[in-house]
Symmetry: none
Subunit: 193 residues, 4 copies
Amino acid sequence: MSQGKIYRADYSTAKDARVHQTRAAIRKAFLNLLDQKPLDQITVREIATEAAIGYTTFFRHHPSKEELLNEIAAAEIQNLIELALSVLGPNDSREAALAMCGYVAEHRALWSTLLTGGAASVLRDEFVRLSLQVAAAWQGSDETIPAELGVILVTSGTIELLAWWLKQKDPMPVDKIAAIFDSAVVSPIIRPS
Amino acid sequence: MSQGKIYRADYSTAKDARVHQTRAAIRKAFLNLLDQKPLDQITVREIATEAAIGYTTFFRHHPSKEELLNEIAAAEIQNLIELALSVLGPNDSREAALAMCGYVAEHRALWSTLLTGGAASVLRDEFVRLSLQVAAAWQGSDETIPAELGVILVTSGTIELLAWWLKQKDPMPVDKIAAIFDSAVVSPIIRPS
Amino acid sequence: MSQGKIYRADYSTAKDARVHQTRAAIRKAFLNLLDQKPLDQITVREIATEAAIGYTTFFRHHPSKEELLNEIAAAEIQNLIELALSVLGPNDSREAALAMCGYVAEHRALWSTLLTGGAASVLRDEFVRLSLQVAAAWQGSDETIPAELGVILVTSGTIELLAWWLKQKDPMPVDKIAAIFDSAVVSPIIRPS
Amino acid sequence: MSQGKIYRADYSTAKDARVHQTRAAIRKAFLNLLDQKPLDQITVREIATEAAIGYTTFFRHHPSKEELLNEIAAAEIQNLIELALSVLGPNDSREAALAMCGYVAEHRALWSTLLTGGAASVLRDEFVRLSLQVAAAWQGSDETIPAELGVILVTSGTIELLAWWLKQKDPMPVDKIAAIFDSAVVSPIIRPS
DNA sequence: CTCTAATCGAGACGGTACGTCGCGTCTTACG
DNA sequence: CGTAAGACGCGACGTACCGTCTCGATTAGAG
């Protein structure tokens, strides 16, 4: 509370409708701007104006725009990550690839923004970070490629592939990209020839 | 000349010894700092202080710290890129991989800074940019993977692999990493099973 | 609003107490410094430090230190100028001279700073400017001396006389200086022999 | 010589033709620029470029642009000052006034620049300074007006009158302005009614 | 249905870094 | 081998955002 900082309540448990409204407005405005320019060219004032809220109010909800991006990215990735990592498991990776690409395609607008809107590198780091966490116990099928490196290569490749995919004017169908994903990104790591 | 900017001579053809001294000092100081923290936490004043030059002098040589990084990265990558892309050619990719990894190992200090010091994303983008340029004419061996995507995946994978490698306390031998590089990054793209 | 400049509210109608506080502090600090050295040896940072405000805050209130001086000078002169110009009217100039000198004497500290502290030339120009404005309609009692020239000579002479007076260690009494003022500065212009 | 300063020979006794050439070029370029804008908007680089000499060369001849102006002003004033002060003597002031105005009229271009080109205040100060020096021994014809104040008022009035005169598009004839000068500036001081 | 506390808008403020400008010194390379 | 060209250190400038803080105004939801 009075820790020499701005007043910042615990909005995570807030029940006030205004809070949700505000947070949604911020999120929407932010993604909107991310569409247009990279993170470091966006100012907090812009976000606030775009969201039609007071400048100070932004900080009541997020410590900084970087943190906001992390929050959004983490939340979104959380959904994707199990799909992506299940691919590394013993299950049918082809199917998992399809599932993942399908998921991204369904949320194309959001992911397009995240991946091609100037937030890619942040997202990538967050993705790798989360993946490493989740896959801490994961063991590669052999010793050729160290587990950590494997995770990095797969996640990194995933991001790149998705970013490229979403950037296309005339994008490939899901099954085609899933096939490439499986053969060019996943298989080489988990099933080294 | 008087283009509303700081006085900035044509240093590319400069013969004054001081110019080279200054530029070297800036470069050294900059890489030094990049070792410690990411680009956006480094101020031009820090660089100037570290290089023992005047603040203004920095801008007489480089428009901004971002541009400086690009210059350094571009120059260094230029050396690497032919090795990396020759891998995509019809020649013995195993050998090329070895050559490339060897090159990086020889310049370990510099590359370590570039890849793990907070400049990785810039370097990656620059790498991809240059690769796409150079490989504009390159044609994938089949139609499964679009050429552009192939280049992106290879370069991206290369960066990640090298970054991981250089980050290790007890790094793999060159031939081992080259083998992984070839089998996990290069082959899947240029020789899809 | 976003006119490519620093954020600058409409302070003229401000009701915030802080604004008045800040402006007063700036004004005081500025006059303080003007006491010690001419305008162009005073930096905005000095003013800010002296006023115990942030550097940027200065610009939120005044476009530049020159402008600040103009504002102060104009405001102060506005008080004096009617006295000075009434002297040019048909009324008893001797009395008016006394009134004006008395006014300056009463605000000796401020005027001393303005006239002898390195701001004299700015003040002179502002004085002439305002006088010409006010006296646009004024008609000299004859055609010997053009009206504009008359105003210039009187205001200029006034400034010089006051500056000299305030600079003296052992200043003349008000009535004496007023007499000189009338006979040496005013009369020759409005009552050419 | 080696006093930790720039190399600066004693050019006052120089016989090298180049020296005179350079000095003349500087002087000419400087007055040229003064015609267009006030002193503090003129940079040394501009003067050097205009004079077609090297930037450093300027400093070999003048410590600063301010000093240069002072030198020029002092030299020019020196010619005028005896005329102006002779007016304060017991001789026929009417004639002296005519002489002085005539002198200025003959050098109109130069004086116009000095008085109306943005150097007026510097010139004024220099004028007063020199006048006070020269007139140190001068004694006013009575005690009404202190000598120092008298000198200040006369010189100041002189400057203002000349500046106004030269600024006119359709200037008065010399004899007319001389008459005004005598009656409005000189007489009131040396012949108080 | 009220009133009380959470939430918000507005915006002044202290800071830090930016990139520009001009000064005046010092060094170098060239003629 | 001296001098013109210009690289350099210095420090002020004015701008852009940052994140903190204070003040009211509003409004939701608990009593």
